[in-house]
């Protein structure tokens, strides 16, 4: 019998960790607090060979404090300045979990701008490394606030390449895995369309559909697993200040 209430953020962290199961000896790239904790959890449990980065210029044998670089602690094991990152991307020995401002049902992702890119309604950061990541190695997405504004019929700019666009050379190493959100875990069906892999405990199928801008079917979806006691210990050790609860508040 467990007396501890398991938070939504902890469920999300465990789902991120599961996404990295079987990734092997590759560089984990994680954007966001929950993904950053999730890859540490993956390394500490099922995939010890996973390589972590400090988000700056080092691969870390022991990670620095959360959201900090090697300058704040940890043990560097390799030097990977930005110039090496692009070589690692091209080598394929990398697994990213990126953020997204828009995702469509084919898994096309946008972080560039909203509206017509020639004069956007809202300029965002730019495509960054999304085009290169998605045609070179496994890419997952993390969405902290699942909404119909993010899960849209059609993205305004395809920064990350979706399954429908991954043809020819672009499809050779293209590998979209999962989309972990604060409500559910999405995968892709045999046609490359987004489907519900699992729904988080406490979320109803209606609520999930309401927050998704295209039709999905969550009626028979299993519940996302809860983290184990051991995992919860690792999670709170990595995030003693509970920053994950700010990224994913209890609904």
């Amino acid at each position: 019998m467990t007396l501890q209430t398991i938070s939504r953020a902890d469920v999300c962290v465990a789902a991120v960790s599961d996404a990295f199961k079987g990734s092997g000896e590759v560089l984990a790239h994680a954007v966001g607090i929950v993904p950053a904790i999730g890859v540490r959890l993956a390394k500490a449990t099922h995939t010890p060979e996973l390589a972590l980065s400090d988000g700056e210029a080092f691969m870390m044998a022991e990670a620095p404090p959360l959201l900090k670089t090697a300058a704040a602690g940890g043990v560097p094991e390799a030097w990977v300045p930005f110039r090496s990152i692009f070589d690692i991307v091209a080598s394929g020995r990398r697994h990213s979990m990126m953020g997204a401002s828009q995702i469509d049902r084919h898994g096309n992702q946008n972080i560039s701008s909203i509206g017509d890119w020639r004069q956007p309604k809202r300029q965002l950061i730019g495509v960054r490394g999304a085009p290169g990541n998605t045609v070179n190695h496994r890419v997952d997405y993390w969405v902290a606030k699942h909404s119909a504004r993010i899960f849209v019929d059609s993205v305004d700019v395809a920064s990350g390449v979706g399954n429908d666009r991954a043809v020819g050379t672009a499809g050779r190493f293209h590998d979209l895995g999962v989309v972990v959100t604060n409500l559910a875990v999405f995968g892709y069906d045999e046609n490359g369309l987004i489907k519900v892999n699992s729904i988080h405990p406490g979320v109803t199928p209606e609520e999930l559909q309401e927050a998704t801008g295209f039709p999905i079917d969550a009626t028979d979806a299993p519940l996302t697993r809860e983290p184990t006691e051991e995992e919860l210990k690792i999670i709170s050790a990595e995030d003693p200040k509970g920053l994950r609860h700010r990224e994913v508040p209890e609904s």
Partner: protein, 270 residues
């Protein structure tokens, strides 16, 4: 020994309107801010700017000096978006943009540095980078069925970069964790202006730091400017970190609906 030292006040004299200018650093990291300020104070305009963008791009955009921007992103790192850049884009104040994947951007610089007309890369295929850059072409491999994006070589009239140390002949040294792409910027440019925290003797360059820190050889540097604090408010490790408070005030002034807040910031900063 060659003496390429140039007073900061003479930097703008080396630039002309309409030039293609590469700016080193990355986001809000080791940007040649002192050199950028010299552009802002001058009447040089109509620039094509090539950069991993940070506040350098934001400031030049706000001043209306950018005709064309070639970039992979524009970010202030600890603050994701630069409000001067987003504002200029949303108002249509940057007439032309080439938004690239970051790896494509590096490929373009490498091709430019190697005097090649293009470099093949997988990045960009299938994405809207192709639609946003209708002049981009793909190239078929002569060996198999693969097809790649042919990123055109980025040749620069002038590159502006900032490093920790240099000698007067222009041998430049970085002492932080990441060289970024400043050597590529220097090699892709006809003229490179290097600003540094400190000009030291050639002996001093390797007295306390290993030779691998010597990033940019003098054959790629035309002018050396001693500009202590010359990357402020971006980071210049290990000499100083980012001035987060100052960056916040930059963002607040840029975001403000009242133009007088921006004017006040400009007067204080420039």
């Amino acid at each position: 020994m060659l003496d390429k030292t140039l007073p900061l006040a003479e930097v703008a004299g080396k630039l002309e309107s309409g030039m293609t200018i590469g700016i080193g650093g990355w986001g809000s990291r080791r940007k040649p801010m002192a050199l950028v300020k010299e552009i802002l104070r001058s009447d040089v305009t109509d620039l094509t700017v090539v950069a991993f963008g940070g506040p350098d791009v934001g400031l030049l955009a706000r001043a209306g000096k950018i005709r064309k921007l070639v970039y992979g992103f524009v970010s202030l790192d600890s603050i994701p978006l630069d409000p001067n850049f987003t504002r200029a884009r949303e108002r249509g104040e940057i007439p032309e943009t080439s938004e690239y994947d970051e790896g494509m951007f590096v490929a373009g610089l490498k091709a430019g540095a190697n005097r090649l007309s293009f470099q093949p890369i997988r990045a960009g295929l299938g994405s809207d980078v192709m639609a946003m850059n209708p002049d981009l072409k793909t190239v078929r491999s002569p060996y198999d069925d693969e097809e790649y994006v042919a990123v055109p070589g980025l040749r620069l009239d002038v590159s502006l970069i900032h490093l920790n140390r240099a000698d007067a002949a222009g041998n430049g040294q970085y002492l932080g964790p990441d060289p970024y792409f400043d050597d590529l910027f220097a090699m892709a440019a006809d003229t490179t202006i290097l600003s540094v925290e400190q000009i030291v003797s050639t002996d001093d360059l390797t007295a306390k730091a290993p030779p691998q820190t010597l990033l940019v050889p003098r054959i790629f540097v035309n002018h050396v400017v001693e500009a202590p604090g010359g990357a402020h408010f971006t980071s210049c490790d290990p000499d100083y970190g980012r001035d987060e408070e100052f960056q916040k005030s930059y963002v607040a002034a840029a975001k403000s609906d009242s133009d007088s807040d921006w004017t006040e910031f400009e007067e204080r900063y420039l």
